[in-house]
């Protein structure tokens, strides 16, 4: 199977490998896939005070297409608002990397990963934005640490 140059480049020189602190308030983490199915993606976003995604990191267990799809997505989401990032479609990923038909599921997984990361971030900020919680518990916890 011949892969596109872009795909091979992302596989050989993956962008943004690594992890962000999953407990941090401004980090959203998405963990999708399953080891038994042969792919697992962990994608994390760090959202700045201005509402823009300032950093993104990934780790992927999966084939070259899965690695390339997640690497590409971390590049795309940086500098976007979370709403914009949420509009990334698997078809855009598949088209950009010229994924063969049997590898389309890798792009679907990458889309799921970014959506999961956004959902995680939103769940966290919803808690923080809730005045009852943010003023009381969270700060005292942070102070205790």
């Amino acid at each position: 199977m011949a892969y596109s140059e872009k795909l091979i480049d992302h596989y050989e020189n993956p962008r943004n490998i690594g992890s962000l602190d999953k407990n941090s308030e401004d980090v959203g983490t998405g963990l999708v896939g399953a080891p038994a199915c042969g792919d697992v993606m962990k994608l994390q976003i760090k959202v700045g005070a201005d509402g823009l995604i300032e950093d993104a990191k990934f780790k992927t267990f999966g084939c070259g297409s899965a690695i390339a799809s997640s690497s590409l997505v971390t590049e795309w989401v940086k500098g976007k608002t979370i709403d914009e990032a949420g509009t990334i479609k698997n078809t855009d990923i598949a088209k950009h990397l010229a994924l063969p038909p049997v590898k389309i599921h890798c792009s679907v997984l990458a889309e799921d990963a970014i959506k999961a990361a956004i959902a995680d971030y939103r769940a966290k900020t919803a808690k923080v934005d809730d005045p009852a919680k943010s003023t009381g518990k969270d700060e005292s916890q942070a102070a205790a640490e």
Binding site: Y3, P35, C37, G38, F61
Partner: protein, 412 residues
């Protein structure tokens, strides 16, 4: 002619997939050449020297194949390969004896061409027992003894598994079959020329052999069919009645000659080659184990052909690893390249968990594998496994002490 030590060009990757196919030994090619050119006669032509010459070549080859397995040359018939041999053996006996016996025994780790033939026969009304294998890949002889009955027409158990290289206890299986009056067929595509085989000592009634797994040409194989006591088959291909009527069609003389020559070389060099390959194989395994934690060998190490390794590199998906080791030609234990995403049924049959089955590679060493190639392969594998583990979320979790089984994964 001296032994050749290198046949790949320097710009080709290192070939480590000898269970998929083997290169043609240059000595085999040399033996074949006259039969492509001036010795072109039809071995069936009885009226002139062209035919006699070709027939002589074919009959010499038949003898060479017979000698490799301790058979008489009259008991060897040429086919297009092991797939045809397996089809002919199983369908042929099942069909012939169907009025008396309607039960077939095989194992879950057979090659697809045996399993699919058995599935077909099930549709034709036969009952098939698919024996499980133990964790080491070998069958349990007691279970075999339990399932073979006086209704069993044939027991088809491969000599050596193509994915994990384990050697089944052939002599013991043959003994059980003989006691119960069932024929014993063995798919010896991966075994012939690599381990000693003796159809008499092992009570084998039918044996399939492939040319291209033993440094012979593709498109040729053989089926051993016992004459005493006689095994009868319904043929699949009808015509001129060649090959004792079991397999009609003009014989491909150069291919037959190639298979014969390959068999003779394999037999002559078997002991020395086994010693050499075992050393290389152990070096590869130890080299990997020394530098990589959490790697697992699939299948028994002792009862295994020297040229095979099947290793799970935990937390690294096999296909991505193969994409990285561009300079090595190996194959994935998992069939992830298909849309099905199903890991190898052979590994699953050993009880290898799915997540580990996805991380497996089959590494096949053979006649032209050098020490230098093994060293290079170890280095490349180690480098890429480390790199891919650094980007594996599963490896990260394992390092943090998180049990990945404790996570509720969404199936997709």
């Amino acid at each position: 002619m001296t032994a050749i030590t290198q046949i790949r060009r320097n710009d080709q990757p290192i070939y480590l997939d000898y269970q998929a196919t083997t290169p043609l030994d240059p000595r085999v090619l040399e033996a074949m050449m006259p039969y492509f050119t001036y010795k072109f006669g039809n071995p069936g032509s009885r009226s002139h020297s062209y035919g006699w010459e070709a027939e002589e070549g074919v009959e010499k080859a038949r003898g060479q194949v017979a000698k490799l397995i301790g058979a008489d040359e009259k008991e060897v018939i040429f086919t297009s390969g092991a797939t045809e041999s397996n089809n002919l053996a199983i369908k042929g006996v099942a069909e012939f004896y169907k009025d008396r016996r309607n039960h077939i025994v095989t194992t879950v780790t057979e090659h697809k061409c045996v399993l699919d033939t058995c599935r077909h026969l099930e549709q034709e009304g036969f009952t098939v027992t698919y024996l499980p294998v133990q964790q080491n890949g070998l069958i349990d002889l007691d279970r075999l003894r339990e399932v073979v009955t006086d209704k069993t027409v044939v027991v088809s158990i491969m000599a050596v598994n193509n994915e994990i290289g384990v050697i089944q206890p052939l002599a013991e299986i043959g003994k059980i079959c003989r006691e119960k009056g069932a024929f014993f067929h063995t798919d010896a595509a991966q075994a012939a020329g690599k381990i000693p085989l003796d159809v008499e000592a092992m009570n084998i009634d039918l044996m399939s052999i492939s040319g291209h797994k033993i440094y012979g040409p593709k498109g040729i194989g053989a089926l051993y069919v016992r004459r005493r006591p006689r095994v009868r088959l319904v043929p699949m291909i009808y015509g001129g009645g060649q090959e004792r009527g079991f397999r009609s069609g003009t014989l491909p003389t150069p291919l037959c000659v190639g298979l014969g020559e390959a068999a003779e070389i394999a037999m002559k060099e078997m002991d020395a080659e086994a010693t050499r390959l075992t050393k290389l194989r152990d070096r590869m395994l130890k080299g990997l184990q020394a530098k990589l934690p959490e790697i697992y060998l699939n299948g028994d190490l002792e009862r295994r052909i020297p040229g095979n390794l099947n290793i799970s590199f935990a937390h690294v998906e096999g296909e991505s690893l193969m994409m990285g080791i561009k300079n090595l030609s190996v194959s994935s234990g998992s069939a992830c390249t298909s849309a099905s995403l199903e890991p190898s049924y052979v590994l699953r049959a050993l009880g290898v968990e799915e997540e580990l089955a996805h991380t497996s590679l089959r590494i096949g060493l053979g006649r032209f594998t050098t020490e230098h190639e093994v060293e290079t392969a170890v280095d490349e594998l180690v480098r890429h496994v480390i790199k891919l583990r650094q980007m594996s979320p599963l490896w990260e979790m394992a390092q943090e002490g998180i049990d990945i089984k404790s996570i509720e994964w969404a199936a997709h």
